[in-house]
Subunit: 403 residues, 2 copies
């Protein structure tokens, strides 16, 4: 009897996920950990071995009876490509079925090229990267492509920062599927960063956490008990567009006084430039290049640079607090290239605010950390999202809203 | 085969919920709508009829074969008591199994009395209300008690506004269980208001929505696809404590410049008093009494009163926008006593902001409405939460965090 009959898919996915999580596991332990019947486990495992996804890896320690055959994933059985599109650069990651990153590449950003030309470039770069590493095409599950939101499945990006406006409503997923021949999964870059963090094992499964992502923009991906929080259309977590100054500066999103407009990387760079700390804009230099320069100046102890970044950090802390107070989280991971550079300047300010004034602080502590993988987090997560479609039982994620 | 074996409880709850949602339904239709086997439906329905929860209500229209016996809930079979604790007043609601409100009562607020005395008063008032309506005690499922957060199951309120500070860490649920003899479920008042809205049928089940609750405080309850979003400890939705002025006025929560501190009912009343629009504070008058007076003055066309409320409405609109941008919602319902009075002043300002600058506006519209049940929403929702424990299959709600 079951109120929600499980599809054959979920049994397979549950077994794959249990093997991945355990590293090495016996059939008997699989029955225990998945709740499936012995017959189901046995049939499914046989099929997974035939497909080459699972291998028998010798015998475990005896617990009195005869030692049990251990099962593992064959990490080389499948691969996924993660692609992070950003104005400042395109980042590629190839991950294997075990979640290991076997290749990374970073190329020029979207620039001023027309979307079809960029799509062709991405297809060429993906092909080159796979060939360079020697990954057989038929083992590639697909491309996870992540970009700043808001996104829709059909139209791709539907509202874009000024520098990316030519991408508005370009049918990105379909064009990339045509150009590469691979299935393409499109998602928000901050959501991908959160999935990458979880997938990489740095977050306890029962945590309610946000990956607060600062790159060219500022956003967040949210996972509660391992499930992505997506809301109505998979465009949740846009904490960069919480208003902190009612009549503040205009934001590209159509609002005013957004945290991103007041304290994001572009705002920080503009302020530093106005104070003469950075030279005039140079072609070929992205906002993140300038942010990196400013971070180095601040870390060397320049008081004015430090003050600019402290002010930004206070607003980022407000963003972290808004996330925890609305979503009741117990962890905020600072990630993305900006925190990869300046995490040590931002983290104490964020942690101080969460400790002192997060609303649920007397129910449970709220911790802040900097991701160990901050620069590539979104691309790693993009690959993880694709691997998840093969491995993870669907648990309430509205993946249909984007795939 | 099932990856998540359903408990016997969930079959029973699924059947009860399907009967409630349909109003009247045959056994064959129950099999179709729940996915349970005919044998399970038949056995469970027989037991529910024996318990008096379900009644046979004649025969449906024939569709060619022999007409089918229809099943309905007996609304008088079970009752739940909803109790909303607030500084400004205690609101009681008795709801029957069909969700119909059969009794309402409003008594004095928590005042300065010691918690044990208030608990005794609540127990007396609940008993009086049940006797007055003639509800048999043995048909009462329990008390849903809702209060401002943050809450913990053991300690009750763990951080309280100054006027409620004697309630900090008082073991509210246990004390009320002792005093009334009924099971007590403790939850956040704004969450309850959202559940009440959903339960009352005014919200389409697939909606991602927030009930933005303004009473003495400002908070929100969030439901996505009919499931309460709870986060780490059931203290989500605290949008009144999003910072909109970095160095703004101190808030009782320990932070500064919170939306509630800048634009909640107490801030509005204080501003009106400073402008001479309201008399000095009088004992026995709550903030909501003063807010009601100011609303009447504004609705009569007083320009200064209108300006004060417009300013508050702009910040409430920022709160609604923060909710939609972080949680990706498609509906915000304004509820609670303050919007019950002044909803017509706040709604246009909120809707304008959501239409113009909600981040996902090109993916889907975001609508704002005023609840038809705004003054009693939290108490009605408190009763609905109790009825839900009997009726609704548990779908990911972390109810154990609070019950």
């Amino acid at each position: 009897m079951s109120a929600q009959p499980a599809s054959p898919r979920s049994g397979r996915a549950a077994i794959l996920d249990a093997i991945r999580a355990a590293g090495s596991i016996s059939r008997v332990e699989l029955v225990r950990s998945t709740g499936l019947t012995g017959a189901t486990v046995s049939t499914t495992v046989r099929r997974l071995i035939e497909e080459g996804l699972v291998v028998e890896t010798g015998r475990g320690r005896s617990t009195g009876g005869k030692p049990r055959t251990q099962l593992s994933l064959d990490p080389q059985a499948r691969y996924a490509v993660g692609v992070h599109l950003d104005q400042a650069g395109i980042t590629y990651v190839i991950a294997d079925l075990g979640g290991g990153v076997v290749g990374r590449w970073r190329t020029a950003g979207l620039g001023a090229d027309a979307p079809p030309a960029v799509v062709q470039r991405i297809a060429d770069e993906v092909r080159g990267l796979l060939q360079g590493i020697g990954t057989p095409q038929d083992r590639v599950l697909g491309l996870g492509v992540v970009a700043p939101g808001p996104l829709t499945p059909a139209a791709g990006m539907v509202l874009t920062p000024p520098v990316m406006q030519r991408w508005t409503r370009f049918p990105l997923a379909a064009a990339l599927e045509d150009a590469t021949g691979f299935p393409v999964l499109l998602d928000n870059d901050a959501t991908a960063a959160a999935v990458g963090e979880y997938w990489g094992g740095s977050v306890v499964p029962t945590t309610a956490f946000a990956a607060l992502y600062m790159g060219t923009g500022l956003g967040a991906g949210i996972l509660v008990d391992g499930v992505v929080y997506r809301g109505a259309s998979s465009n949740a977590g846009e904490v960069g567009h919480v208003c902190v100054q009612l009549d503040g500066p205009e934001c590209w999103c159509g609002s005013r006084g957004c945290i991103e407009a007041v304290a994001g990387t572009a705002a920080v760079v503009a302020e530093a430039r106005a104070e003469g700390l950075l030279p005039s804009p140079a072609s070929g230099r992205s906002v993140l290049d300038d942010f990196a320069t400013l971070t180095r100046i601040a870390l060397r102890g320049d008081v004015r640079a430090e003050a600019i970044m402290q002010r930004s950090a206070r607003y980022v802390a407000v963003a972290a607090q808004a996330l925890t107070n609305l979503m009741d989280l117990d962890l905020v991971v600072l990630t993305g290239p900006a925190f990869g550079m300046a995490g040590s300047l931002y983290l104490p300010v964020v942690q101080r605010r969460l400790t002192a004034s997060s609303f649920a602080r007397r129910s449970h502590p709220v911790r802040a950390t900097v991701s160990a993988n901050a620069p590539d987090a979104a691309a790693v997560g993009a690959a993880a999202l694709v691997l998840q479609t093969e491995l993870t039982p669907i648990r309430g994620v509205r993946s249909s809203a984007l795939v």
